[in-house]
């Protein structure tokens, strides 16, 4: 019966949310916004690419003076450039439209500016003059070095892969940091997306005076758990809707959108850190869900409950004020305090877990704390819902809440 009712509650809550036009309007705002940004990026990148291509193929007449002596005359003449005898005359020719451009290379091009005088051909086209002037200097330098590889080395164009070890075992480094941080991301997305709905999930019964009829039809714990499960399902639907355009953009339009190419195979998944991260996520979710449900049950209206929601949101963002300490000095007193204070613990501990400064013992303590406190708060939330929700228009005092918890 309890399982049948749990399924019924979940079905009812999920279906009625997913069939609401308002839900889809709000949910689709994000992917539509992402789509618009992607579209603009696509259009912008296309026009930039077209401009660059036309620049590359564009031929124009130019002259130059070289105080540095670094420019290779033969190279310049190959691409149609001529050495100017007089800088002022060259500038005058440009102004008169007899010459497209004139480049004045200074004595020390590293420290001094290369002056380019040219005919205006539009904001995108004008870029070609500077590119050609720079390219001439670059190719001239390569000619002097004698090999493109040496030139590349001189420019520091080398790739480095660092492999680090701890206790004789290879560590993940930066690539090992990213996977556990996914749990942090999920936690934020879930709480921010669903927090308000969790808060309002029991308020509806209260505001509509349904509490007594529903509580004598279905067990309070079944109802609350059913609501939480349905919120989680709704949250997943929202995440899929949000992520879908990003995935489509990455898979099919990556180059057009100029998206960076993530090589997921380089990520290092440390099983222990992943398990700890998952448990911290679940524990934190339990604690925050219980707290939000309890607040919703204790407050008479969504408006009054919203004040407390703001406080909880602040608590999950506060650890970021000390993120540099969390990374550089995890033993600092404030980091320890934030690690064990229940409402800042999930974020702080997940960060420390990702950066590898959360020992197994610390992690066990925080996970135990989150789950034990989470279940206690959830149990109290159920009782407050039973007791507080039928005080329809009243706000429960702290004394009443504690009384309800005992009842």
């Amino acid at each position: 019966m309890a399982r049948h009712n749990l399924r019924t509650v979940v079905e009812f809550e999920v279906r009625r949310t997913l069939t609401k036009r308002r839900f889809w309007i709000l949910t689709l705002i994000v992917p539509v916004a992402i789509g618009i940004v992607f579209g603009l990026m696509y259009i912008s990148n296309s026009s930039t690419s077209t401009s660059l291509n036309s620049q590359k193929s564009a031929k124009f007449s130019f002259s130059y003076t070289d105080a540095s002596g670094q420019v290779d005359e033969a190279l310049v003449s190959q691409i149609g450039g001529v050495k100017a005898a007089d800088a002022n005359q060259a500038i005058a020719n440009v102004k008169a439209g007899k010459l497209n451009a004139y480049f004045a290379y200074p004595a020390n091009p590293i420290k001094q500016i290369i002056q380019v005088y040219a005919l205006n051909t539009g904001i995108f086209e004008n870029g070609k003059y500077g590119s050609v002037a720079t390219q001439i200097l670059k190719l001239s330098a390569q000619q002097k070095i004698g090999s493109p590889e040496l030139a590349a080395l001189a420019q520091g164009q080398v790739k480095v892969v660092t492999t680090t070890f701890k206790d004789g075992k290879q560590t993940g480094g930066f690539n090992g940091l990213i996977p556990p941080l996914f749990f942090l991301l999920i936690f934020y997305v879930v709480i921010i997306l669903l927090g308000n709905q969790m808060l309002g999930s029991t308020l509806e019964e209260k505001e509509n005076r349904v509490t007594e009829m529903i509580l004598t039809t279905v067990n309070a714990t079944t109802l609350i758990v059913g609501k939480i499960i349905s919120l989680f399902i709704i949250g997943l639907v929202q995440i899929v809707v949000f992520v879908l355009p990003i995935v489509v953009g990455f898979l099919f339009f990556r180059s057009s959108l100029n998206l960076p190419n993530f090589d997921l195979s380089t990520l290092v998944f440390d099983p222990l850190r992943m398990i700890v991260g998952a448990l911290l996520l679940l524990g934190g979710f339990t604690l925050f869900t219980g707290t939000l449900v309890a607040i919703g049950a204790a407050m008479p209206t969504a408006k009054e409950a919203g004040i407390f929601f703001g406080v909880l949101m602040t608590l999950i963002f506060i650890p970021f004020y000390i993120v540099s300490l969390i990374v550089s000095d995890p033993n600092a007193l404030i980091v320890k305090l934030f690690t064990y204070f229940p409402f800042s613990a999930p974020i702080t501990a997940m960060l420390r877990n990702a950066f590898g400064s959360l020992t197994l013992w610390n992690a066990s303590l925080v996970i135990a704390e989150l789950f034990i406190l989470g279940f206690m708060v959830l149990r109290m939330a159920v009782r407050i819902f039973q007791y507080g929700s039928i005080e329809y228009s009243k706000k429960l005092s702290i004394k009443s809440i504690l009384g309800a918890a005992k009842l």
Binding site: H4, N5, R16, N208, R209, M213, L215, T216, N219, G403
Partner: protein, 310 residues
Amino acid sequence: MAGEAEPLVHVEGFSMAFGKQTIIDDLSFDIHRGETFGFLGSNGCGKTTTIRALLGIYRPTGGVLHINGKPFKPEDGEKLGYLPEERGLYKKESVIDVMVYFGRLKGFSHQAAHDWSLAYLERLDLGDKAKMRLDKLSSGQQQKVQLGVTVMNSPELLILDEPTKGFDPVNRRLLMEIIEEQKQSGATVMMVTHQMEEVERLCDRVLFLKGGQAEAYGTIDEVQDQYGVQIIRLKYSGVIPASQNYVISRQQNNYAELTINEGADQSMILRDLVASGLQIREFSAGKLSLDDIFIGIYGDQEEEKNGGSA
């Protein structure tokens, strides 16, 4: 397993306190199977608190509250129909969705709940409203839906807390019909109401709750006997004389009710009235009505005027 003689509802030594305030103090009563029980009292005397404790919403401070021999739990599948005083449904959902939801929670299959709900709505001329949102219905129509949700599982125990509150005469009659139907099909009814004429018409036994305790408890006759004062109803012409044998408890348009004082009887009073020259057109003696008993019990309570129930 509940035996035949075992009461459906058994309350014994029930106490309930919120902080230092005691609402119910050592209350005991039974509701037998198939009977209609009036659970009566002034506003704030603890009727709703007792029902909530009986239905497991509140945990009692002390005592035993059993339905079918055990504390009530929704998941046990007891066939309960409860229409609370503060009532409402999911207003932003369609009528049929809400009815099917409650039907499924009460153990129906989706199809059975859907079919039952449509038949009920058709019967009440709400068939065309099935897909409308509840908040688009009038308050009377919403009450009909709530009533449907309450009785849809043919409850063995039907608890109605001020069922006619806010009902217009048409809906009130409909409600009475449905209660009568439920009684006919064997339901036990526990009813909280301030309408004493409804109690006299429907209830087999009653309990008057005062100060958290049973002030009067039994069949209507037993309670009337408990308040053994007799009343004389009189239609007359002239002026009723003052007397030590009676008190004029009600007087209007040549109709009066006289409460017989202790030591007097109806023949003595009739003799006094005739001797005074009063022209008597009708003279009858009877027990106090439940309305009189109610006023007698709660008439002195300040909270009676204020309203709000505990």
